[in-house]
């Protein structure tokens, strides 16, 4: 509720004390299938936490349970120390930006943004001021009297954001907010969302299926599949040390190379592929001679015509500008391998049929 104590004329960019969102053992079924299965997760105060996964993985269901549109079958949700599991959505200190924005078509931009303030009985003059401020922050000054239908997709997105932020919620929830925008605008908007989020220091949960979006925006990423949390960590952790094949592949192209452990200690190991040895990162120590699979990204494979490395043959090559991408067959490996060459010279690509040597960048491969 609005209290008369806040004397600021402008609250648009004022930092609010932020609280973490704590999820414990959250489970939700729709009939028989489990949408969310025993999910435990903490979105740290002031951070942006992304729920990432393919459609149907339970990420949106989780977000809707935090917003209060679904009640969980089991488990608890806390904001800070406050248990909100059974509160109706209108009593929760959360604000949602919906995938399709859900702007009220019968209200102007101003009325849309002011709706939450109106509900909290903020005085008219104050409402006006705050709405103008927040519209300026999201770059929509002068658009207040428009109808939502008269705005472009990006502008509608900003209105939705302004509407969510103007009431200074403790938690901001974003449900695939960029999926209805074109590719260029998506990049601009995600940078803008990130800037706003960090400057306001607001605890944010962000749902997406786009790994690039997740990597570029997040403090932490929770990768989900089939209702379960597969991995929770920083973007670098998730990308570089995926816990399984699914996470590795969901975050981008991945190669899986079979080798044997030569030597190993906690944290790293030397892996042998035929007569070629290379050091990789590990989570634990392995006995020498163990057969393992190394996960490595295409950009960490180096293709050359000679020297040491795995013996390979080029299947196809494509020039993508910043990189040249090779599909290769490597000796002793059943799966096709993808390698990217940085800053390639377009005239001097390896051609299909060429025999090459492929090395792994030291320490960049990862054994689960």
């Amino acid at each position: 509720m609005y209290t008369a104590t806040s004397s600021h004329l402008s609250n648009a960019l004022e930092r609010a004390p932020s609280e973490p969102v704590i999820i414990q053992g959250l489970t939700k079924r729709f009939g028989k299938p489990v949408a969310v299965d025993n999910l435990t997760l903490t979105a740290e105060a002031g951070q942006l936490t992304t729920l990432l996964g393919p459609s149907g993985c339970g990420k949106t269901t989780t977000l809707r349970m935090i917003a209060g549109f679904f009640f969980p079958d089991k488990g608890e949700i806390y904001i800070g120390t406050e248990r909100i599991t059974d509160q109706p959505p209108n009593k929760r200190p959360t604000r949602t930006v919906f995938q399709n924005y859900a702007l009220f078509p019968h209200m102007t931009v101003r009325e849309n943004v002011a709706f939450g303030l109106e509900v909290e009985r903020v005085p008219r003059a104050q409402q006006r001021q705050w709405v103008d401020d927040i519209l300026q922050v999201v770059g929509l000054d002068g658009m207040a009297e428009r109808q939502p239908g008269q705005l472009s997709g990006g502008q509608q997105q900003r209105v939705a954001l302004a509407r969510a932020l103007v009431t200074r919620p403790k938690v901001l929830l974003l449900d695939e907010p960029l999926s209805n925008l074109d590719a260029k605008l998506r990049v601009t908007m995600r940078e803008e969302i990130r800037r706003l989020q960090t400057s306001l220091g607001i605890t944010t949960l962000y749902v997406t299926h786009d790994q690039e979006e997740a990597l570029s925006l997040s403090d932490k990423i929770a990768v989900m599949n089939n209702g379960q949390l597969l991995q929770f960590g920083s973007p670098a952790e998730i990308y570089e040390r995926p816990v399984n094949r699914f996470v590795a592949q969901f975050l981008g192209l991945s190669n899986f190379l079979n080798g044997t452990v030569e030597t190993s200690e906690k944290g790293n190991a030397v892996i042998r592929f035929g007569d070629y040895c290379v050091s990789v990162a590990t989570n634990r120590a392995y006995a020498a001679g163990t057969a393992i699979t190394v996960t490595i990204r295409p950009e960490n494979l180096i293709v050359s015509s000679e020297g040491d490395g795995l013996l390979g043959r080029v299947i196809s090559s494509s020039y993508l500008g910043a990189v040249a991408r090779y599909h290769l067959h490597l000796e002793g490996q059943s799966d096709e391998v993808i390698a990217d060459e940085h800053a390639p010279s377009g005239d001097r690509l390896y051609q299909p049929g060429d025999a090459v040597r492929v090395r792994l960048r030291e320490g960049r491969g990862f054994v689960q």
Partner: protein
């Protein structure tokens, strides 16, 4: 060498143009033929009603109108009609809204039963509930017999309250189906967004749901009000006494009394029909204008699979209670009808008997066959004509298209009484004498249902990608072939839904065919009405029960043949 391409292309362009010219006269002939039919069977009969309202004993005169405006009786009749129509409209809207809200926005149990029960009034004669009210709440109705034996008092249903209640129960399903469709197309995320920002359930409803629902509420209100205004059966059965202005009657029964009663005063009957026509027609024009005006309600129809958000318990169970009570009441109305069909003498002797059934099969056999056949043929004609005219209106461009459209939609705005009266007056002498034939009943059925067929086909056509038709034309099909092979198959679901609706409406209609039936061509619905008026409640109940069974049987057949199932009612 350069001439080869042009030599190749010239014949093609030439044949195309030739084809175009070849098709043109065909289109013109089709249009003219349609126009002639519309003029003869819509414009001419309506003009007959207008003309006769300005005649007293065959002489041009304003006498009828003078009489109307100088007579307190007619004034009170008008007031009664307007006030009761308003009350019944508000009631039907409210009940329909509660049902629609409960089904689309709460997780209350029993939704399927409520949906099914609300369809019942749509498939039964509109005066049916009035008749059931008599059996339940009449002087000798079950309820009053119990009440009298306990407290020596009665709550008799005859009067304005009875008419209003019966109209509400008859018409609320229209509001229910319209509002359910509208609510389903409002993205529930809008309401979630409001609650997300702290708005309570009721506040969200008032500030978000209701404003978005306004157009649907409004168009339902207009339709229901028009049906109330022109209602005949219920006022005739329940409204003979105790109306709000006791000295007056109600309009539609009065029109029929003037013409079919002792006086056989066609002039005055026509005048009353015109008085009825004016508000109906005004609303029709107003609705057209309103629908064109509203622009922002292009609600994003993103289909969402989300279950309804949790609603406060008092809302969920409050809505559930109202729906359950209504359902219970509607079901008891039907139960009473079926019971009445096999009861010796209702209110006096409740012994079982097959006497009414035997009597019905002996006396009403021909009417039953007539009703079934004429309604089926009429519905088929109306649906086919509807699809065809909708196709012309959406895919062709021609001079006077909006006038054409207006004439086609005209029967929608006309109270049934006006159409029936016009057909009766227009074809009992002169070049084309159709009075007393099956043809005139068929024409009435076809013409009055046609606008519905046109409207539903139009909205279905709007969703058929016209590139499909262009592709067929590109492959060499001329328009009759495109229509037959592409358009018609794509409109199949709509066609069957229209057919069903038209059939049911024709079976249960009395207001306009009451002028058109003859001893040779009687109809079931009219027989029911006559039996009720004559106090032969047993036979009336037997006939009503049979009609319900026939309609359900035909529905089941169409249901199976079309493979549409419940979608039949989702127009």
């Amino acid at each position: 060498m350069a001439t080869i391409p042009s030599e190749l292309s010239t014949p093609t362009a030439f044949t195309r143009r030739l084809n175009r010219v070849k098709e043109q006269p065909f289109r013109i002939v089709t249009l003219l033929a349609l126009l002639v039919i519309l003029m003869i069977f819509i414009v001419y009969p309506v003009s007959q009603v207008l003309l006769r309202s300005f005649q007293v004993d065959g002489i041009w005169s304003l006498g009828n109108y003078e009489r109307f405006f100088n007579s307190l009786f007619y004034q009170y009749t008008l007031y009664n009609t307007l006030v009761i129509s308003t009350l019944a409209t508000v009631g039907a809207l409210l009940l329909g809204l509660i049902f629609a809200f409960g089904v689309t926005r709460t997780s209350m149990p029993g939704k399927n039963i409520f949906l099914l029960v609300s369809i019942l009034p749509l498939i039964t004669p509109p005066f049916f509930s009035a008749f059931a009210f008599i059996l339940l709440l009449g002087r000798n109705g079950i309820f009053n017999q119990v009440l009298f034996s306990l407290f020596e008092t009665r709550w008799v249903i005859y009067g304005w309250h009875g008419v209003t209640l019966a109209q509400i129960f008859t018409l609320f399903p229209i509001a229910f189906l319209n509002l359910t469709a509208a609510l389903s197309s409002i993205d529930p995320r809008l309401e979630e967004a409001a609650e997300d920002m702290g708005a309570s359930f009721l506040y969200t409803f008032r500030r978000v749901t209701l404003p978005l629902l306004t157009p649907a509420l409004f168009s339902s209100a207009i339709l229901i009000f028009m049906l109330n205004l022109s209602a005949f059966g219920i006022p005739a059965i329940l409204g003979s006494t105790n109306l709000i202005w006791r000295e007056g009657s109600m309009l539609a029964p009065e029109v029929i009394l003037e013409i079919l009663g002792m006086n056989s005063n066609w002039g005055m009957g026509s005048t009353l029909a015109v008085i009825m026509l004016v508000p109906s027609f005004a609303l029709f024009l107003f609705q057209g204008w309103y629908v064109r005006r509203r622009s922002y309600i292009t609600v994003t129809g993103m289909p969402t699979t989300f279950a309804p958000r949790p609603s406060p318990a008092y809302i969920k169970w409050g809505v559930f209670t109202i729906c359950s009570l209504t359902t219970f009441f509607v079901l008891s109305l039907y139960l009473v009808i079926f019971a009445g069909a096999v009861t010796e003498t209702w209110g006096v002797n409740y012994n079982l008997t097959t006497r009414h059934l035997e009597l019905m099969l002996r006396i009403n056999q021909q009417s039953i066959i007539n009703s079934l056949l004429l309604s089926l043929v009429g519905a088929a004609v109306a649906s086919l004509l509807g699809v065809f005219i909708a196709y012309i209106l959406t895919r062709w461009n021609f001079l006077g298209k909006s006038t054409f459209n207006f004439i086609v939609m005209l029967p929608y705005a006309l109270p049934g009484v006006v159409m029936g009266l016009g057909l009766a007056a227009g074809f009992n002498s002169g070049l084309l004498i159709l009075s007393g034939t099956a043809m005139i009943i068929l024409i009435d059925f076809a013409v009055r249902r046609m606008p519905f067929g046109v409207e539903s086909s139009k909205s279905a056509l709007a969703q058929v990608d016209s590139t499909l038709e262009q592709a067929a034309a590109d492959l060499g099909a001329n328009w009759p072939r495109v229509f037959q092979r592409i358009t018609l198959p794509l409109l199949r679901p709509t066609f069957f839904a229209t057919l069903t609706f038209c059939f049911i409406r024709s079976m249960t209609d009395i207001t306009s065919v009451i002028f058109l039936v003859s001893p040779r061509w009687r109809l079931m619905s009219i027989d029911i009405y006559n039996s009720v008026s004559a106090g032969r409640l047993g036979v009336a109940a037997a006939l009503s029960a049979l009609m319900i069974i026939i309609i359900i049987a035909v529905l089941a057949v169409i249901w199976r043949v079309s493979g549409l199932g419940y979608r039949l009612f989702r127009l």
